[in-house]
Every structure is written in structure tokens, then in C-alpha cells.
Symmetry: C2
Subunit: 379 residues, 2 copies
Amino acid sequence: MENTVNAAAAAATATSNGSASVDKGVDFANYFCTYAFLYHQKDMLTDRVRMDAYYSSVFNNKQHFLGKTVLDVGTGSGILAIWSAQAGAKKVYAVEATKMAEHARELVRANNLQDVVEVIEGSIEDITLPEKVDVIISEWMGYFLLRESMFDSVICARDRWLKPTGVMYPSHARMWLAPIRSDIADQKMNEYEGCMDEWNGFVRETKSSYGVDMSVLTKPFSEEQKKYYLQTSLWNNLVPNQVVGTAAILKEIDCLTVTVDDILKVEASISSTISKEDTWLCGFGGWFDVHFKGRMENPAECEVELTTAPSIEDGTHWGQQVFLLNPPICVNEGDEFRVNFSMSRSEANHRLMNVDLGYEMKLRSGKTLPTVQNKFYIE
Amino acid sequence: MENTVNAAAAAATATSNGSASVDKGVDFANYFCTYAFLYHQKDMLTDRVRMDAYYSSVFNNKQHFLGKTVLDVGTGSGILAIWSAQAGAKKVYAVEATKMAEHARELVRANNLQDVVEVIEGSIEDITLPEKVDVIISEWMGYFLLRESMFDSVICARDRWLKPTGVMYPSHARMWLAPIRSDIADQKMNEYEGCMDEWNGFVRETKSSYGVDMSVLTKPFSEEQKKYYLQTSLWNNLVPNQVVGTAAILKEIDCLTVTVDDILKVEASISSTISKEDTWLCGFGGWFDVHFKGRMENPAECEVELTTAPSIEDGTHWGQQVFLLNPPICVNEGDEFRVNFSMSRSEANHRLMNVDLGYEMKLRSGKTLPTVQNKFYIE
């Protein structure tokens, strides 16, 4: 025996309302532990789109921070807490579940902010603050916004610790979907087929050399590999001309009012019109943006947007999530898609997502093609 | 945020006697889950050295199986249980902790052995058999033999279910260590240095663009990266001429009598003589072999060896574990090493290992160089 990878598959128990009762040890082993590496923190700290957006949102809206109390949920290395203090906050609580808290504490001290920033090691759900805060700042976004389900913790923090007049940083979030083309569809299909060829050779060999007929496992093996190569969404940094039709909003979130129930499931029915002549539709790309607008009674002086949309120069570490269609479809300008999109949490691990994506195509000739239903996994 | 990898770091609690009380959910998430993939089973089933050794051990020693009862610990796809039945066993209990048990059951049926092989899904520690068995067969070996600590489960099975006259398959195991040369030492050092250069650029950039001095984290980052690049043992398929001195046995195990206490820690003091003139000692390579000899009162008719030693043609999926020395040392034929080796289980995850490796070098000129102490991690 030897397990060559430590794949993660948490054992959370789904409860009747669709949320999950989570084993804390398992969750730490599968999820939090990665944030305890400085290498991983550096990945996020060198994402310029991410850094510039948060930096601008804080330093161009100092009125939200000057003399105020701030809570940073999941502070990691402590960067957002430090900026909040540099922007004039009176007190910043920086909460971090992993041992990274120790490094955050060192960093705060090295930047001489130990009188303002208090680093607290613990889960936001478990810790207690001595007061309510004026601002909650957090970088909680996962792939395609909701992977990781970390926003649950921000909502919990908001409901427990934000003053009734408080401001959320970011204040709004949106999920997007658009039809795309990409060579990766063919590539993944080739990889899948290569893998099945190898399997078939293995079945022959095991029968002839070792007297055991493995062919009964061909179907489950093929399903396992299909899931891996074709049904698992892919991280990709798309460029704008790979988007072959109109992008549509799947979900809008007001961070001040949204509840966990509101984000357990994302369901949307959207339309998209193909904008390129004679091209291949290889799948759909999903991304998100967040906005820093303050709140209606206390708006930002300078609104800031952080977008992870396809871009020529400004790729992010989030990239986009690509859901492949196999085989690709030849499409033309004016063809219309109706997409029924549904995303819910994996029963085995509440931080991962299952997606049902059905589409119906109405050709510009007027002809309608039958509905196709696809299942994807965001792992 | 976005965690790009699901690194595994289990939260087991070390107890005073050096063994560990293990959180089952965490252990499943970090360890067992990988064995639930057919892709991973195929990796093991296509390792010809592994397959040929077990196949020969069973079919060349049919007297141990004919009309007997057999227990296969961690049956996976069920191959060893099926061979045992094909060799004439009256009854085979095939125990598997993961959902792979379902595939094993299908495979047994497809090979028409459902009247002999009973697949039981569960941990060997939890299940109950209706009788004691004549043979325990298991492929329990991890990297460098003991990684995964799966042999604990085999020992538990033996103590509970093997008849006093029963036979273990395999019956014996050994761990080996030898001085080696490899380009990988320079390569890893280059990777480490490249990583630190990047970090230093990042520190400058974060100060100038974002007003935060990160330099206090340079030392912990460097330690994290050193651990990753230089102190984590490497999987490698070495060839014999990369072994530059005599190989020595670190540990010998009699599978019939060994206890869990005997394998919690491996401590050995060994000697090795360099056998090549003017070469580089880049580190030490560790591997194992196991033997199928039956037992003294009931020996194998045909003894079989499964070795994972460096080989030109017969690489295994286990390969060897390489512990790098940085920098490499120029050595000559006749130089002698005294190595103090100590391997124990990681406190955070009892299936991973920590290694302390100290060596002292006595040149053929008679001069003795001071002892050097190294720490490694088998992850």
C-alpha cells in the first residue's frame, strides 16, 4: 500500500435543513491547515488585484476607519488588520483560527501597531470580543465566490459583533456565468480517453498474468475518471476573447443583510446570447466580483471594485472556474442559451460544491434544441 | 482567500507512551479516503514487483491456503483475497475500511468466488469474525516500510484472529539505509534558493507598494521552505550505481511476534563504507524488503522476496525515500560512516514520520570529522 496523495474528503454530516454539522478536527485537517503556511499566504499577498482593491478600499475611505473599532475575520498574516490600523482605527481585533496568528502577531509588532491591533487565535464562532465594532473587514472569497463556505463565519461575526450602524468590507458580492471557448475541453477529453486506454490494457494484463477478471470495474473506473477529468470544474485564467456570449449574474449578495440560508444554495435561470460567429462553445466560465460601497446611511467616499472576470493583464489567484461541455458545440452569433444553474454544498464536505447546470439552446434560425443536463463538482 | 491545495495535517493527540489516540474522522479524511479511488488501486495493481511477489507467494505455497481460512487486512480491490480463494482457501474474510469494499464485492462476484470470499466493510479494529484464521495476508507496507502505520492494524488482526499455529503473509520485513548520490540535492537547493529570492522581492514590494514591512517573517518563511525542499524525504526510484557505499539493515521485523511498541520507534546505529572513488555523497536512501517464509513449524515451500531496493528495471510504486545532505560531501572509497538513525511518528499525524539522522565520518586517512545532526520528515 502507499497513498501517493493526501486527497481531502471530509466527513461532515448533512442535516435536514441542508446545512451541515461539521467535525472540527476534520475541518481543520482538510481546510484550515493550508492557511497555516506562509507560502500560501504569500500567494494571496502577491495577488495585485486583490491587494490593490483592499488597499484602495481602506485608504480611500479613511472616514470609515479613523477612530473606529474594526474586526478582521480570518486575518491570516494580518495585512488587512494592519492597514485598518494604519488608516487610523482606534482598535482592530484580528481573528485567525490557525497558527498563522503567531506570525500575524509578530508582523503587527514589527510594524509597531501592537497598541492598536490585537491578534486573537481562535474560531470566530468561539471567541468573545469586549465590544461591538464599527467595521468588519474580511477577505473570505473562495473560488467562484462561495467555495470554502467561509462567508458563513463572516455572517456569524456580523450578527454577533457588528454595531447596528456598522459597515461591511466588502459590502456586496456577485456571481457571474458566461459561455466560453477553450482548448482545455479537448485536452481533458484526450486525457480521459488516454486514461481509459491504459485501464483497458491493465484489465487485459491482469487477466492474462494474474488470472483475475477486472472488467466489472471498468464502468465504475470510467465514472471516477469522468468525474475527475470532465465533471470537476477547472481553475483557469481566461482572457476576454474566450468569452463567446453575454455574461449573466447568478447571484447578488448584500453582505450587510444576507443570511447563511440565503447562500446554502444558489439557483438561477439566466439567458446568454452568443456574440461570435462560427465558434465553439466549450463550456461555461464562472467568476465573481465584490464591491466596497459602505452602507446606504454611511456610503464609501470612493467605491472600489474587485473583479475576477476574464482579463488580459489582471489575472487573480482565483482565476475563473470552468465547467466543460463534452463535446463542444458549434455556435453562431445570435444563438441563445437558457441556463438553469443550481449550486449546493457537497454532503461530504460543506466547503466544496455540487453544480447542476442545464441548458437549452435556441438557434437564431428559430429552432430549439433539447435540454441538456450536466453535473459538476467544485473541489 | 482560496486554498489551492488540501494539504493534510491530522490532529492526533500524542499520549504519554508515544502511541497516539486518533480522531477517526480526521484519520479517514487524511488517510483512508485515498484508498477509495480505483485510480489509486490501479497504481498498486500495476506495480509488477508487488503483484509478482504476492502472486508467487500464494500460488507457490498452495499448501498454506488449501482448505484453510484466510483473513486479508485492507483488501482494497480484493486481489489478495481472490488469489487466496483461487489457491484453494475454504473461506476468505476480506476486510476493507473504505467504500472500495463495494468494488471488491463486485470483483469477487465477477470472478465467481462469492461462496468463498466474504467482503466486510469496516475497520479491522471494529469488526468481528465468526472464527480464527489459518493465514493473515495483507499488503500493509508504506513508504520506507512504516509510513502510514498500517502495520498496527495487521498486528491487531493477528492478536485477535490468527490461530496459534497461523501463518503471516508476509512473514518478515526489513528496513535498509545506504549512502547515495543524486542530482536532486542540487536541484532542491536551487528550488529553495529561488523561492527565497522571490520572497525577498515580495518583501521589498510589499513595503514600497503597501506600506507594510514583512521582513520579520523572512526567518519563519525560510524555515518553512527549508522543511519543504530540503528536510522532507523525497520519493525516488534510484538505480544501483547511485548507491555509493554499503547498505545496512536498520530494522528487522518478525511479523508473527512483533508488537506495536516495537515499531513505534526505529533506532539503529549502523556503519557504511564508501565503495566508489571520488564521488559525491548527496544523502541517504531508505528502502525495505519483505519475505514470505511461512513460520518455523510450517515453512513456505517456496520462499519469496519482495524488495524495493534500487534497481535498473524493477522499480516499484514505493521507490526509495531519499534524505538529502546539504551541501553534498566529496567522499572516497574506504571512507567510513557511522550513522545514528532514529525514526518516530509525527505527533500531529501518527501515519507520518520524523527522522533524526546523525553521522560521523572517518576518512580512510584515519581523520575523523565532527558529527553532523539532521532532521527529516517523511510526509
